[in-house]
Amino acid sequence: MIPKISKETTLLEKAEELSGEKIFSCHKCGKCSAGCPVGTLMDVRPHQVIELVQANDWNVLESKTIWLCASCFQCATRCPKDVDLTRVMEALRLLVLRENVDHIRISEISKEDLKELPPVALVSNFRKYTG
């Protein structure tokens, strides 16, 4: 479900403001997608995410991709145009999370998992998946 964000400002403006990146710097070389460790599992490849934001297509917020991104900074390190896609992905997640739509239900994590998982896993997951 696309959250009810006021569409007076465009997606492009929101994403640029939140990420601090210049989205039109991208020259679509695809290096970000080539190096992405979870690229093969994504429904929209990282370079296509940029394309969708350039086109102001709010459907990008419905992609699995923004949640599959593991914030590994690989795309950011390799981009020849200095577009930090890791930040753009975070901006897109926040557009959803800040509408109070969490991506994880903490109550659904099993007792066994809670016992076994290191604190660093739980805290980082909640930081990325809850608003």
Partner: protein, 285 residues
């Protein structure tokens, strides 16, 4: 050399063996780790949104404590803590306006002046010189691969080494007498926090990383991050059909073995028990 030490939550819980072996090693090589008397969770991930200063408070608060201790450097072991603390640090150092806002918000604290640097423990060892380590029990006959993952190396500004071709762990392990082989997955993300609710992502990454290491002849994988450790180690549970067990070790555990600090060793918190391999190589007492 004296240096404040920031532990972080996981070093006190599931990664206790990482901390214990590091403390023993530090004592043996003359690094005086001064554990910070007061610290808080750094937040584990650096906040990437340009309007979000709230989540920068936790890391900066820790740096204020270092400043209070009268030091200009602090070391840490966990790759995630290192990354979060130093990225937040660089943000406020480069943006005086943000720093001022945060300082006035934290009005119970001294102002942070931006004078602290976060150094990973591997860097502290490297500065001392790996050649100067008093190796008594060289890791002869043990073939390993280093696994760097993401957060020691990326983004570039906080990287402890060349972000695409790091050598620091390989240099350390070589100086301890191990045989180090190269493989293409040393920088590849393990899936990180997906381990909580997208386990399959982490299983897939673990499979690729470990099978590549195995193909190159590695008998163990060596790393510096408690989350990578958990993922590469415990996610093997679901890969038992596909993969022979691969021990995952913190670099400090191999350091402790090579310096003969056997009392500091503890392997109970591993899923794949590294002891049979280490015994087979004659490395445990």
């Amino acid at each position: 050399m004296k240096i404040p030490y920031y532990p972080g939550c996981t070093l006190k819980t599931t990664a206790k063996p990482f901390e214990d072996t590091t403390k023993a090693v530090s004592e043996a090589v003359g690094i005086e780790l001064i554990e910070m008397p007061r610290w808080n969770c750094c937040g584990t991930v650096y906040s990437l949104a340009s309007d979000d200063l709230m989540h920068q408070l936790a890391p900066i608060r820790n740096l204020i404590r270092v400043q209070d201790m009268g030091y200009d450097r602090v070391t840490t072991l966990c790759s995630m803590c290192y990354n979060t603390l130093e990225q937040a640090n660089q943000l406020v150092k480069s943006d005086p306006e943000k720093l001022e806002k945060m300082n006035s918000f934290m009005d119970q604290e001294e102002d942070y002046t931006g004078g602290v640097t976060v150094v990973h423990y591997l860097t502290v060892l490297k500065e001392m010189g790996f050649d100067s380590l008093p190796v008594k029990n060289p890791l002869k006959g043990l073939t390993v691969v280093p696994y760097y993952g993401c957060l020691l190396l990326r983004p570039e500004e906080i990287s402890i080494d060349n972000p695409e071709r790091p050598t620091v762990m390989a240099e350390l392990l070589t100086s301890l007498g191990a045989t180090v082989v190269d493989y293409p997955y040393k920088l590849e993300c393990c899936g990180s926090y997906h381990t909580v609710n997208h386990k399959e992502v982490v299983c897939e990454k673990t499979y690729h990383i470990l099978s590549s290491a195995r193909k190159r002849g590695a008998e163990a994988v060596v790393l510096s991050c408690p989350l990578c450790e958990f993922n590469l180690d415990f996610r093997q549970k679901d890969l038992e059909q596909e993969l022979a067990p691969m021990p995952i070790l913190y670099f400090s555990q191999l350091l402790a073995i090579s310096l003969g600090l056997f009392d500091a060793l503890e392997f109970d918190q591993h899923y794949v028990d590294p002891k049979p391999l280490l015994k087979e190589k004659g490395l445990l007492r």
